[in-house]
Symmetry: C2
Amino acid sequence: MTLDRKDLAILAELTTNARASHTELANKVGLSSTALARRQKALEDDGYIQAYQAALDLTLFGLTTTVLVRIALESQSDDALKAFEAEVVKCPSVVRCFLMSGTDDYILIVLARDIQDFERIHRTELSRLPRVARVQSSFALRDIVNRAVPTVVFGETKR
Amino acid sequence: MTLDRKDLAILAELTTNARASHTELANKVGLSSTALARRQKALEDDGYIQAYQAALDLTLFGLTTTVLVRIALESQSDDALKAFEAEVVKCPSVVRCFLMSGTDDYILIVLARDIQDFERIHRTELSRLPRVARVQSSFALRDIVNRAVPTVVFGETKR
DNA sequence: TTTCCCTGGGCACACCGACGCGCATCTTTC
DNA sequence: GAAAGATGCGCGTCGGTGTGCCCAGGGAAA
């Protein structure tokens, strides 16, 4: 399936106002409500729209500190990876985890209330992960860019 | 304002089904639709819910490659930082950018179609950033955890 | 060129459900 | 004990949503 620029406009708008009604979206995109409803349903059915989700302000929960954690395992054997990954998904403070190429094996993004709270997370969550050889933490001083979708997606001008 | 576990249940559900109706949410949380409507509006007004947004399947756009980029600037002077940050927000392929403590100055998360595409991004977007001394890229081989909200948020049992 | 088909768009309508309000009840707190 | 906050029920209204139908445009085949 190929998307034209109206489809992209619909997606762009829905990434901002997921609860917009058909008529509301139709006006912004320049379609009738029924044509828009068809396109939106097609975008959902084809999987372009995975879900509609509420974005929370995590600072109101006290989560103001972002930490990037580099973790190297004792070995790169298959069950070492499996064991580590099975446990890391349970860590409540971890929001991202990548298996990386290069020297560092995993990179995690952890959200904490502050530095003291990260010490607790380090003690109760990270240090209990299996097969870990080395843990290296870097604190994010500021958030410059935070996008769910790269803007390049909406710029593709097909059709 | 303090949130009880029903508020957290509402937020947890809305982070999954942002378009759920009042009655639908009320059944899941265990409230009447009017009590739920009041709470949801309060959560919106107090800023706990920042927005309702559609989550797109970026793989359907060909964006299957995640790259972590570490960028060191020539200097940490204020206008070097300002100049860099003003440009990096314009990069269409960058989804995250942190100013970091420690040796590396910035860490970016870049989405690309593949390695060749990242080469293009490196050439057309990253290498044009001002005041850059060093660029170091690591490819993510796999996505282990990808959450918008840490699960710790919904576990706090106040009230 | 003409005709047919097919895809996508727009209009109108009807139905169903959501939403918001008012009020009574209950709990909690001072 | 009283007041304030929160809950639940019921109602009416409003709006969204889905369907059917017709139309326009483009492509293909005769």
